[in-house]
Symmetry: C2
Subunit: 255 residues, 2 copies
Amino acid sequence: MRNFKLILQYEGTRYQGWQRQESTDNTIQGKLEALLTKMTGQKVEIQGSGRTDAGVHALGQVANFHADTEMEPQEILEYMNRYLPEDIGVIEVREVSERFHSRLNAKGKTYCYRVICSTLPDVFDRRFAHILTETVDIQAMRRASEYLLGTHDFKAFTSNKRGKKSTVRTIEEIRIEKAVSTSMCMQGAADEILFTFRGNGFLYHMVRIITGTLLEVGTNKRRPEEIKDILASGSRENAGELVPARGLALMEVRY
Amino acid sequence: MRNFKLILQYEGTRYQGWQRQESTDNTIQGKLEALLTKMTGQKVEIQGSGRTDAGVHALGQVANFHADTEMEPQEILEYMNRYLPEDIGVIEVREVSERFHSRLNAKGKTYCYRVICSTLPDVFDRRFAHILTETVDIQAMRRASEYLLGTHDFKAFTSNKRGKKSTVRTIEEIRIEKAVSTSMCMQGAADEILFTFRGNGFLYHMVRIITGTLLEVGTNKRRPEEIKDILASGSRENAGELVPARGLALMEVRY
């Protein structure tokens, strides 16, 4: 059996997330497996580096699958891009060692979350950003984000209630930058804030709850120092709101 | 009767263009008129600065309408943005003099056309750019574009066959720039070429035929000097291909 590693991009808008489900064929994993099964004539299972939720995008999702095929990586890439829906794209296919596992071997991930501060509708970014009608204090959010750096138990920042697995994770970097929205070719008037999170792994909803909490700091609903207490409490209800999926994108998986 | 000037943005993807049609209610003008008629209780007609074709976007379309209403511009803006579909947005509403006419008073327009050169699918820009699998010689296109500057009869560069109206137009500027694709928050690997056209007005399909012709120069299918002969011929069949609507956006209307 050969093992192939893929780098994938998808717009999550119309999918029920990455993970295959019995109840719907409208998942990224489901679409990919159906196509690869057709391509190879064998039942193929594809393993992602992790799930992305319904509506979340990916620019650098990594996945791998085993198959008995004579096809070369470039042929696989071309075949997949010919038949996949236009909101899923394969950026790279490589043959890797039999033992490579996209989830178990992942050492780190980078996520971005985009927020646009505007009282006007954003026709071009509406699928790819969370629109906030308030202005935001970036310095306050940066101060708050420092409490999250390093290794902590992030139990307060996940929606997962079944508490069997470890909720300890390491966040290496949180970047919060002001950017000018560049929807289409226009330099938009809207203020855009880009959050970049780099860490060894992220719990269910963790990036979106952290972003929501930081935005509450940025809009003066919380003080930066509260983050320390929220972390220590281990209690989801102390953290901020879950922000919408559409602003989130998995950018990169590191091995 | 008060007269209101609007600045509008829309994603053209799912519309049959700007202009109201008897056969469909799926036009931008149709959507706006239906809403304004509902808002004011009067039959409202809205006048655009010009038509945009099916699939063409706008970041700065201008329109105006007359109505007897007590509503203030800001209230109109808020009402419209509350009820318009999310792919149409109102950026500004101002009350203007009775005589202002968005089409007749327009002195100039700016259009942008985006091309992405990549052999890979572009999941995030597929609605907003023309994807070209070849690489393109920007210098050759710039040389070719110089023949189009100034006042010319652009008959060869329009699809309109009924030859009653003047096809003389003035192009003040053609900018051809290489940009790095910034789909979502990623600095994409794909090469992006942005064409900007500024002129006193553009004929039916003119920007898309000029762009298609310049791309044929850029991919070595034509020499830059041929543009001169195409212009002089006045014959549509001598010009290049009509490129897809999705790469085009009306950026600005000047008065």
